[in-house]
């Protein structure tokens, strides 16, 4: 059972960057009629998203966020000994984007840098890896960079996914200090559900061919996508969330001996408003403790948890706050964490 705890490691500051281009979902009607688009927008609660232009990658958004954070906190770059980049939209198949970011950010060649490939669970998973490495005492400061350009993955002609996803990148600076106290994580995986959210072709199992790029009508509703577009079985994803997420939260609260009431904020992966609201009600959580950014940024996969903190809690994190973070999605993979935020610096949102 992957239940782990750390002591004296925490997040010093967070910054986020989003593309300037705002997509108004009500007007995203080139392939579907206005009435059905309105119904989808109202049910999912996603009114706007940000789309990166072709020349901006996840790494560029993370770079902008990291530069802002380093400047705001006046960080000595030579003290950053660890850089982890989490994404499923890297610059290249190789080399790892994290290594390229070491160079771009002007970090020392003695920096440990690598990538982690996970989706909506990746920020929490990434934190668990950073905390593990930081707890060894061998790293002074760490950067967790988390970026996604999910707008590129999904077909605009498949109504199941066309209105959900957006782009963004974040940077978190992690340090060691006794003031942070304990942090607890629950990490989970279920590869039997690999087909629920998937890009089937374009990797090495099903390499890219002219056929895999060909757009086809895939169902009786006339949705169109290629084998290299993302597919999602929304119904089973919802079923999965109902079965696994409340259970995982209860498991972690019990492991960490944390009372539900003692938590200041519950920050969930922003999937869609309908599912997130249902989850909130099922767990009987107070609305004011569950920030949401889905309306403005859509589902940005792993970026959604830190982007919600940056965009919604900037003025609420003075002093000490006890937070629960919970990410779930593609894999399936899900992770929950309970940790203290101690005067966490939140930078102004950067637009690229």
């Amino acid at each position: 059972m992957a239940l782990i705890s750390f002591n004296g490691v925490g997040i010093r500051g967070l910054a986020a960057a989003v593309p300037k281009q705002v997509v108004n979902n009500y007007e995203y009607t080139q392939y579907f009629d206005k009435d059905s688009v309105r119904d989808i927008v109202e049910k999912t609660g996603i009114k706007e998203r940000r789309f990166a232009p072709a020349n901006i990658c996840s790494s560029d958004l993370c770079f902008a966020a990291a530069e802002r954070l380093i400047a705001d906190l006046n960080v000595d770059r030579s003290e950053i000994d660890l850089l982890i980049f989490v994404s499923q939209t890297p610059d290249y198949r190789m080399p790892a984007t994290g290594v390229l970011l070491q160079e771009r950010l002007g970090l020392s060649k003695q920096t440990a840098a690598f990538d982690m490939n996970l989706g909506c669970s990746a920020f929490v998973y990434g934190l668990s890896v950073v905390y593990s490495m930081m707890q060894t005492g061998g790293f002074r400061k760490a950067l967790l960079l988390d970026g996604e350009t999910r707008s590129r993955i999904y077909s605009p002609k498949d109504r199941k996914t066309a209105f959900l996803f957006g782009d963004g990148g974040v940077a978190a600076l992690i340090e060691r200090d006794e003031k942070y106290g304990n942090a607890w994580f629950s990490l989970n995986s279920d590869g039997s559900k690999e087909s629920l959210i998937k890009v089937n072709a374009g990797g090495y199992r099903n390499p890219s061919t002219p056929e895999t790029l060909e757009e086809k009508v895939v169902d009786e509703h006339g949705n169109i996508r290629s084998e290299e577009h993302g597919y999602m079985n929304g119904a089973d994803v919802f079923n999965f969330v109902l079965l696994e997420i409340p259970k995982d939260i209860k498991k972690l609260l019990s492991f960490s001996n944390t009372a539900m009431d003692s938590l200041d904020y519950f920050v969930f992966h922003q999937a869609n408003s309908y599912m997130n609201d249902y989850l909130k009600n099922k767990l009987k959580l107070d609305n004011s403790k569950v920030p949401a950014s889905i309306e403005k940024f859509g589902n940005t996969s792993s970026v959604s948890i830190p982007l919600t903190i940056v965009s919604q809690l900037k003025d609420n994190l003075a002093e000490s706050k006890k937070m629960l973070l919970c990410g779930f999605g593609v894999g399936m993979s899900w992770a929950t964490a309970v940790m203290n935020f101690e005067n966490c610096h939140i930078s102004e949102l950067v637009e690229v």
């Binding site: 089973d236 079923n239 109902l242 249902y278």
Partner: protein, 77 residues
């Protein structure tokens, strides 16, 4: 339980008129993937039941769905 199920089902799909158990629910004008989400939420909330998509796809009539929900609810008790 059947009445409660029918009310819950109609509420999820926002159907106001009477329906019959032999109806093929995918033929309803109100049936779409958004209604499906509401149905999943209602079945979880009111019957503590989830039905995986593979099984759900084989349910054709309102009665098929009711029987599956009743079977799963009974298995929990």
């Amino acid at each position: 339980m059947k009445d409660k199920f029918i009310e819950s089902f109609k509420e999820a799909l926002e159907i106001d008129r009477p329906i019959t158990m032999s109806d093929k629910f995918r033929d309803y004008d109100e049936w779409n993937s958004l209604g499906r989400l509401s149905l999943i939420a209602n079945l979880d909330d009111q019957f503590d039941v989830t039905i995986e998509d593979e099984v759900f796809q084989k349910l054709i009539t309102v009665e098929d769905l009711f029987n599956e929900v009743a079977k799963r609810a009974a298995a929990k008790n």
